[in-house]
Structure formats: structure tokens, C-alpha cells
Amino acid sequence: MRAWTPSPARPAPVNTIGAWGWVRRNLMATPRDMVMTLLAAAFLFWLLDVVIGWAFLNASFTGVDRSACLKQVQGACWPFIEAKFGQFIYGRYPEAERWRVNLVFAAGIIGLLPMLIPAAPYKRVNAVFLLGFFPVFAFALLTGGMFGLTEVSTSDWGGLLVTLVVAITGIVASLPLGIALALGRRAQLPVLRALCIGFIEIFRGVPLITVLFMASVMLPLFLPDGVNFDKLMRCLIGVALFSSAYMAEVVRGGLQAIPKGQVEAAAALGMSYWKTTRLIVLPQALKMVVPGIVNTFIGLFKDTTLVLIVGLFDLLGIVQLHFTDASWATPETHITGYVFAGFVFWAFCFAMSRYSIFMEKRLSTDAD
């Protein structure tokens, strides 16, 4: 009896495998594709030529004033960034006291990193450190005026320091406020619901800049005579209220996606409203809207630049301010400054968006 032996599988056609196969499939599948590839490659070549030429080949790297950057062929003026770097990070914070800012940055990173790494232990202790201890510590250290530290007025704060203070305060304040507003908007109580809807819709309907104008021009009018906050504080309040309205809508999306059966099952087990919300509804709802929450954070981080319009000097504001320095006035100073600031903002936002994708995958309980 003859056993049936299948003939061995033939190898894949040569032109569909390996690097060449990849090129054929992804770059020149059809004649139209070939034309597109050529056009795209030409565009890319032109762009890289411009960018590399500007940032490296024709750029100036050393120098102490504008004369270093006044060349025949124009390129980036990097010495400008180098000379102003301290200002861009700390603003007018006194140089002798900058260690305090550095210490706060370091404490923040030490607190935040283990929080972001899922495998790191002691999450609870860490959270207490980050949300309880760190804000007090940072506030005391940055403003001073106690424990023998010299007082530094917030009007001297600037640069990345202000950007981070506004962004982090906004992020920390907007999440609980937003959750409260979202719960209020879905509450059974008409008065509470109406108040929450009014708040959310008004803040979402107007531009942040008018809210900041309101905070900086009108807030003093709303308070009794003699009571006043400094400008940074007023902006912080404006930014926090504004972003909590957006956060509320994101959280509401998550709340609406929870099947009614979950709440009913909790009620059947005799759980109270707060217990149901805390243990059943919010954990599921928040998990679902992680991308939305991070997007709101990213938006908030970018929106911190608006404080420059009401006269605070965040990173962009301080870069803008130093363009007026006559000893660095060159045709390329502006673009160099913007590219630097843009890169810093981009790095923060891009990192946040990548982290959100990572968390989304990690938190996903879908079987796949």
C-alpha cells in the first residue's frame, strides 16, 4: 500500500518576500503608487534638506551675542538658546534660589515615575506622597518666606516653571472637579443638575482667553474690598474651572457607557449611592475614558501658553520676552526660539499621548 505524501510547500514568489517584496508591496504596488512614492520622496528630500540645513549645516553653535548668528547663509541661532536657557526654565527666579526649583522638579519626578510604572510597588504610599505631601512641599519651597527661606514673589516665577505649575495644578484640580460635575449632571436632583449643566455649558461655550480675562480683570471685582489673589493664582483658578468643564464631559461619556444593570445589581445588593459610585460605576467609567482624560490633559498643557496674554511669563511668554533683547536681535532669533519652545511642548505632549496608548492597552480587559 502506498502512503500519501504531500509534496512540500513551494516557496513564496521571490518578489513578495524580503526587503524587495516589502518595497514592491508598500511603495510600488500600482503605477499610481509609484508616482505617489516618487512625489512623496521628492517632498521629503526637499523638507529634510531645508530642515537639516537650517538646524545643523548652516546653524551657529557658539557665541556670546548676535554677531555669532549674522552669517551670509541663514541657519538656526543656537547660542541664543544656550545664553537664555536659565531664564527659559526658571524665569526671573533669583539665581541663588534656583536649587529650590530643582529640588521641587526632582521630588516631582521621584514621586511621579514609580506612579507611572505599573510594576512599581507601594502605589498607595506613593499617591499619598504625590497628592498630599508634594503640593505642600512644592508650595512652601517655591514661595519661601518660611523655614528661613527668602520669599520669592510669584511675579518672579517664569519659564517652564510657570508652565508646569499651571499645567499640574490644572490637571490635579480638574479631575476631581470634573468627576463631581459629571456626577452632578447625571444626578436625579433637578436643581443640582441644572447648576452643573449651566456651569459646564457656559465654560465649554466660551474661549479660554475670555475666562482668563475674566479671572484677571473681573475676579478682583467679585471679591470683597481688600481680598485679592496674585495674578498666578487667579490664572490657576481660571484654568482649573475651564478644564474641569471639559473633564466633566469626558467623564460623562464614561458614565453613560456603564450598563444600567451594573447600578441595579449594586442596588439589589443594598449598596448606597456613594458606595455604588465609588466601587462600581467610577472604576469602570474612568477606565473607559482614559484616552479622553489624557487628551484633556494634553489640551490643558498646551493651553497653559495662553497665560502669556494676561501677562504671566510661561515658557512661550519668556521666549517671546527675550526676543526684545537687542544684543540677540538677528533674523533667525524668532524662529530659533519658537522651534526650541515648540520642541519642549511637543516632547511633553507626545510623551503623554504615548503613555495613554500604553495605559489603554494595559487596562483593556477585552479578550483578544
Partner: protein, 382 residues
Amino acid sequence: MSYFKRRDVLAQLVTAALALLAVSWLVGNVMSNLERQNISTGFGFLSERAGFGINQTLINYNEDDTYFRVLLVGLSNTLLVSTLGVIFASLIGFSVGVARLSSNWLVSRIAMVYVEIFRNVPLLLQIMFWYFGVLRNLPSPRRATAIGDSIFLTNRGLILPWFEAGAGAWVYLPAIGLLIAGFFFMRRRALRSRLLTGAPTPVWRIMAGLALLLVALLYVFVGFPFSADMPALKGFNFRGGLVVIPEFAALLLALSLYTAAFIAEIVRAGIMSVNKGQTEAASALGLPEARTLNLVVLPQALRVIIPPLTSQYLNLTKNSSLAVAIAYPDIVSVFAGTTLTQVGQAVEIIFITMMIYLTLSLLTSFAMNQYNRRVALVGQNT
């Protein structure tokens, strides 16, 4: 649930009382503060003389006009930049979103890099980059960069050839409106008759014929009252032509490119939400790629795209308020800025500005919701 527990009623009463108390406290503070600082109240200032110039006005305006006129000028400038921004952002956004899904590796990568760069950099920075970094660095009018011999790039703005309308030119406007309305009417009838009988109607050819006829009629009766208005260098600046001020160009450019990055992601998500079987079925029927996209994929994707697209349009309108940073005369800049500084009545002015943005937001959402309803309904019927 239509009944309330006693505790709930109590809680509501307390909330309402607290809210009222807070509001009355705030209003009381405002009143006493205004009185103390001798700031007048009321909207009387709107009829006072403004006394400052504005460098882009769509309606007639001069320094002797009132603050109310200033409000209208600012509003029209906001509407102009938002409308054009929405159009450009949609065009760029849809193209990039489609390119992002292209089977061509290079094209999709370029689209991805575009999206990642433009949406992760603050809009205000982009506006300032284009304004202070690029457009203000252009050569002066005497050394202007010329494209062809009628378009000029200068640090005073982009100068384009334009036309001058003579007597009777207004007749052309309703005629064009009629033509556009006719086109949509024709298309609807053509679709209906095609669904009933299967016979196609050459809509475009008929419309081209009608347009020619209309132009011929207009030419016979009112002539052609338009003349070209070419820009020319006279002394230190250009005369004639249409001057697009650099503030406007920078704002429009930044708003369009920034919002387009978000629209591209929305379009990509929308297209990806359409079942792959739809594309495969279309290609099995022999539809070419472009028509598959236009006739099969996009109509279905629109249902997913429209709601987030609406909020992008709203964002763009609200973001146009960043104009104040480069002094483009939008409503925030000339009204909540210059007017507020001159008059000092912060409460009224900020209130009016916020109300206008709220109204714009509500109107846009209303219009987009109407469109959304139509798109959604079509989806259910097929």
C-alpha cells in the same frame, strides 16, 4: 423616577439657597467695588465714539464710529477667519486623514508625522511662529518676493490681484446664488429619478449649459461690469489689488494646520469604523479605489465623523480668539481688548463677548446636528 425622598428635597433646597447666596454675595461685591472705583455701569458706552482705527474692516468703519460698530467689525472679522479656517482645515484634514490610511507606506508615514507634529504643539506658539517668525520676516514691499507678476509676498501682507465691480455688478450675485440652488435641486431630482428608473441624468452638462446661458443673458442686459484691479508698486507700498494682512494670514494658516491635524485623526477613526467587507464588496463590484472611498466608505464614515468634527469646528471658532496675541482685529482683540482698556467696564464687555461666543457655539452645534440627523437617517434607510 418622579418622587423624591424628603432628604433629597432638603438637599436641593440647601443647594439652591447656597447658590443664590453665593450669587448675591458676588453681585453685591461687584456693585460696591464698581461704586468705590467710580466705574460707570450699563450699556450706554456702546453708542460712544470709539476713536481708534482698525486695520481690517469688512464693513465701513472709521474712527468716528461707535463702540457698537467696533463690536460688529470684530465679530465680522472673527466670522471671516473662522469660516475660512473651517473650510481649509476640513480640506487639509480630510486629505491627511485619507493619506494616513494609504497603502503607500511613505505617504501614510508623512501624514502621520504631520499629525503628530501639529497637534502636539500649542496653537498659540504656531500662530506666533507664522506671524513673528515667518510673515513678519518677509521682505519689504520694495523688495517683495513675486510669484508670477501679480502676487507679492511682503511684510505688509500678501498682495493678490482682485477685481473692481462697477454699476450693475450686484445682479451677478443673485444669479450665482440661483445657479447654486439650481444645482442642488437638479442633483436631488437626478438621484430620485435614478433610483426610480436607473437612467442617469447628465447633471454637470446641463448645469454648464445653464450657466453659459445665464452669463450670456447677463452680458446682454447688464454687460460685464468688472475690471481687473492689479497691484502695482507705487513709492514704498503697493497700490491696488487685495491686501491680505499678515495677521490674518498667520492666524488662518495656524488655525487651519492645527485643526486639520485633529480632523485627520477623526477622519481616520471614521474610515476605520467602516466594515472592511464594504470596501471588499465595492472592489468585487469593480468600483475603482477613489469611487469606493467617495460612494461607499465616506458616506458611512460620516456618521462617526460628524459629532467630533462639530466640536473641532467649535474649537476652531473659539481658538480664533488667540488673534489677540498678534493683534488681528477679531472681537476679543478690538472689543474685549482695546475697548475694555478705553472704557474700563469689564463686567459688561466680558459678558457681551462671552454671550457672542456662546451664541456662535449654539448656532454651530444646531446646524451640525441638523446635518448629522440627515446623514444618520440616510444610513438607516439603506
